[in-house]
Symmetry: T
Subunit: 138 residues, 12 copies
């Protein structure tokens, strides 16, 4: 099974800045652990550019996508349309509990075109999503 | 570790009506399996009465609560206040992807006082939440 | 034919308080008359507790439900969900013309999951609903 | 007793187009049956022109009006004012359950100046309204 | 003179949890003091169940009601209707200054059917309300 | 100088129904008096049909128009466009103080395309408008 | 008959600045003409200070008030309350057609507590209001 | 092929008033040219009366309708319902780019029940719509 | 202990106009009674001018302020800022139950910067506030 | 004559995915046909990246632009500003009738800065736009 | 060059209260320094009274105005109108970053009638505005 | 001291197009002058691509950032998050007074995460911001 983890703007900074908030582990470090734990292949892509995220969704060859498009979550009709155009199941994740933050973060344009959403558990949000796909496939 | 699963209105019908939509497995049947899989104690309570859900939250002695208060999700300030008054971590779950449904289901009064939220995965939403607590505690 | 009349909060006071407004006939008095007139069986339940109304809807064995959930009309997603979960046709009724009253009474969460709605005719609203079901069944 | 049934735009098509939806009985056919059943005189008028509906309300000599102004329900302050200017009791009816349809059909400008409203029962909505007036008068 | 103090959801926790916020005195402890101070009879009832609060309002035999329905303040049309249905003067109180809190706590459905409202003074809010009724009656 | 007074829906009833509210003088009676007082020619047209009002505006040959389109004031983009299409100055009048009535009467689509508006003075609203045009022209 | 003309902020500039827009006649110049024309006593007061306008309304001894409170029209609950507290009839006037201007000028807090409103006729708005009071009194 | 061009309020003035804005060619002049160019039959109807537009839609026998209902575009649920009731494809056109004009012209009630919409090209909007139908049919 | 009672616009009329509504006792008469009853010093200031109210708040030397700024309650950010800038506890009071009145009176800009609010008890609202401060200080 | 067709996010998939919805002809295939039919030069550019679309608009040397920026239609102030900065006429097109889809697709930020808009005709929307430019130029 | 600095409500407290927030330098102290630095004449006026601010704007003889009307920024149409009535360029300044504060501080009625706005730099906001005018004039 | 000036979409056209509006000086020309005037190092970057602006913010090594992200100001949560993630002080600038323009330009998502904002002064907005940083640092 091949899973694509797709991260949007500013998520390249995780594990690199503000460790007191986001922890000091980066995606680069944690991905091999998850591959071992779940015995699956994980492809990783991050971009700050909305259109590159769309390109990646369109060209994805994975069996499943775990997606966190950060600030584009609340504004990108274009990413929503890209998800709708592919036949791969997508799960949306968020590190923080966005319902606790500014009101413009409460509505996601992405959720209605995904299988579901997992939010608020930090890096565990991603790990739970991987577990969902692995269990579902077996 | 002791986990309380707390279900609100109409969730007693899961596995009993409309199996083509909600599957034909009830909480009564699935809970023992989860207890075995995760080697934990799961207490289960369901009520259609808002105040009984509040009573149960107030009196909970579990290490963690997994909560789906159904239709009260969008209207109950009182349940929100009950969650705020206890020191037990709470995870909100939903069977369906509520972002796909009527607009009055898009805002949850509950999410901002929980650790996080898992929605859209059917019964798997609960199982992922259990996994989260088990992993977190270990 | 068996019809369940289900009344919500404060409707137990009809015929007992403010007779100058609501008349001086209670449901207890009028139900036998309607049973005779329409030659049908009428089951009656009233509760001020939202969850008990939900319980009654879930457990109903009637051929038809006539429902007036009073103040819960405008706030109860949970009662709406209960109606959606049963296969019994439901007609919503209101004693008063709620469109003439405060603006928070103008929108009903219940109507979209019912067959139809009859409002503004006092006790006659219920009688018209009974007549509808009797005629339909014949 | 004389009852005026007043139908607004597009209701002349009932029983003539889309019978799979609206049935294949027209007002012209059903009115004689209702006159017999209720032993009353029913005057019928339909117009697609808002002002003609107002003219008819102003000039009505009936004891009661049953009114369905179709699409004008949600936009016509002028029809509302016409109803307010006459001393004849008016009952609003709708064939469909307008609360299930587009949001611009949820608010009626007409209901607050009527005795009450009956909606969602197809042709039966009219028949229930006739029954209400007959019973009330006797 | 007999006063009913009626408390809604989560107010049973006052004096029992989070003493640093709500103080460490409970209603059970403070009521006798107030009875002595004002030389009146105080009946006390608390429930987390909306419908039980309605039952208690309907059945009240007190000369005055002091009411704090907590989270139901902002959502309960049904409690509002219950207050409207009784002839006993009601004063609404709140421990906290709800205007300082989340925006969904700014509007009270209850205030328009009460004599007045006292908010923001902690337990003193209740004591001021008692004083109001005692003075008014003398 | 020739002035056209153009009245919309239900204004044909003035002086004929509800004299306790609208007085017992009709436009037919008062117009000759105003013609004498101001020594001008007054043409009068009333219709309940929106399109006929538009026709009349388009074909008007008067030096000035005094217009009260009643309930169409708040909904008719089409009448607004007709006023914009002619080169005759238009003054809007209202018998009642519409700012005191239902909120849907507070906004006029017509005022922005008129010279000005006079409201709340009963029949005097029209007379003041005539006086305005006469004075302006002299 | 004694009429008080009460002008609010910035209306002291009329006839003094921007003559191409507001004409080059000031209130000081035009008032004597109106007193002659209508053979009445006109008291004039202008202030840029909201509270002084309130003081003047409270202390007015005129038979009628013609009032244009400029920018306070849209924001002053306090002036509205002052008008409500006196028994003198008040007519609101505006030089410009405020419905053509910025949207925050469309709603007047003042109109609902006045007899009526005259807007859009420049200085003639005041003169029409004087005429109204003179005619009414005779 | 037979095409019905249906124009609403004030569109009878095109080519007759304000030529500097709308050009000096009327529908009466241009229709023969389009019939020649596209070798099709064009029926033309214009009315300022909403209900007559509905009548015409209901009775249409054309293969296609090109419709511009002017000011009714933004307010007429009744015209929308008429379009829904016929099986003829309808294309909505507008002379001006309504998105550049007042905000109440931005939403069309008509577009969702049409094949599509062409706006902003003056008389060319109609010609493009004719071309669409001709091409589609061939 | 020294208490400042600060009244805003139109409150100088209390006890002087409309005694059937506001009673016939003025602040000038009642203050000495309250000083005796509570054995405290009460300073009194009223102004119709927003800025003078701000001046008085800034220069206050009292131990407590009881404030009712009337119509400025709903519009004055400036008074709110003045309250925030002083270290004296402020209690907001209202004679009437503002929640029963026009919707623009439902939101107070002042409450969030006060200790609390007492509304709806007529002159007793002030007396309860005095009692609060006296008790708190003792 | 040189026309630039500029397509935004996800429009590269037309003719490649979901042929049952979008047909099985791609822009690459259809452009030569249109160039022949209209005897014009058509330049084609597609990008999923908002900024590249802006770059292309800024650098365009065509006589006309036909533009469909997909999901950016509803969110991109930046593309709107780019269109405003060039002197080339732009026509907006959409494949689908966006007025029939989710409400966030109803408002276009782009239309007010274009000549006009053509929507709902599939690939024909583009062809009609080409025809418009060709005719206009000749 | 002569610059008028005009400060509104509560800004007289700067440098006098809460020095930990606003610093301990007052306008009285800092103005001479700025006069020296920029070699210009600075007139200073502060008032808590809205109307006095209007008076000062109307009577200003300066070459430029730097204006901070504090809480009136968000509510004063009257100050806005005063600025529009003078021919002196006005720059709006704010000490704090009002976009970070309560939502009712986000919209300024003043900005659209000023040259520009400088906000968030404390006393430096004023100094930057002076620099702007000096540079512009030289 | 090193300052980064970061410009967003369409700002590359300044000084190159529409000189009658934006002047005929470009950033390339003016930057050396400012470096001389303030004796500081200014790095300049412009992009039309949202993600490249984010990249540049993340990688910035300047002591201060002056930022104008043009049309992204009102829509980019992602740029806002990038600013929040760096420890460099940011000042937002705008050439035009955006409060005078379309309503969708009135709210900036960027301002709340900046030190402050300077708007409306053309190129001087940038120069004032440089001056702010230079003064602050010295």
């Amino acid at each position: 099974m091949k899973i694509l983890i797709l991260n949007g703007p500013n998520l390249n900074l995780i594990g690199k800045r503000q460790p007191e908030i986001y922890g000091n582990i980066s995606f680069e470090e944690i991905l091999p652990k998850w591959q071992s734990e779940f015995n699956c292949s994980i492809e990783y892509f991050q971009s700050n550019i909305e259109g590159e995220l769309i390109n990646t969704i369109q060209n994805a060859t994975a069996d499943a996508i775990i997606l966190n498009v950060g600030g584009y979550t609340h504004t990108s009709v274009a990413i929503r349309d890209a998800i709708s155009s592919v036949n791969i199941p997508v799960v949306e994740v968020h590190l923080s509990n966005i319902a606790k933050r500014e009101s413009f973060r409460h509505e996601s344009l992405i959720t209605p075109v995904c299988v579901g959403c997992i939010l608020g558990f930090g890096m565990e949000s991603y790990r739970l999503a991987i577990g969902y796909f692995i269990t579902r496939k077996d």
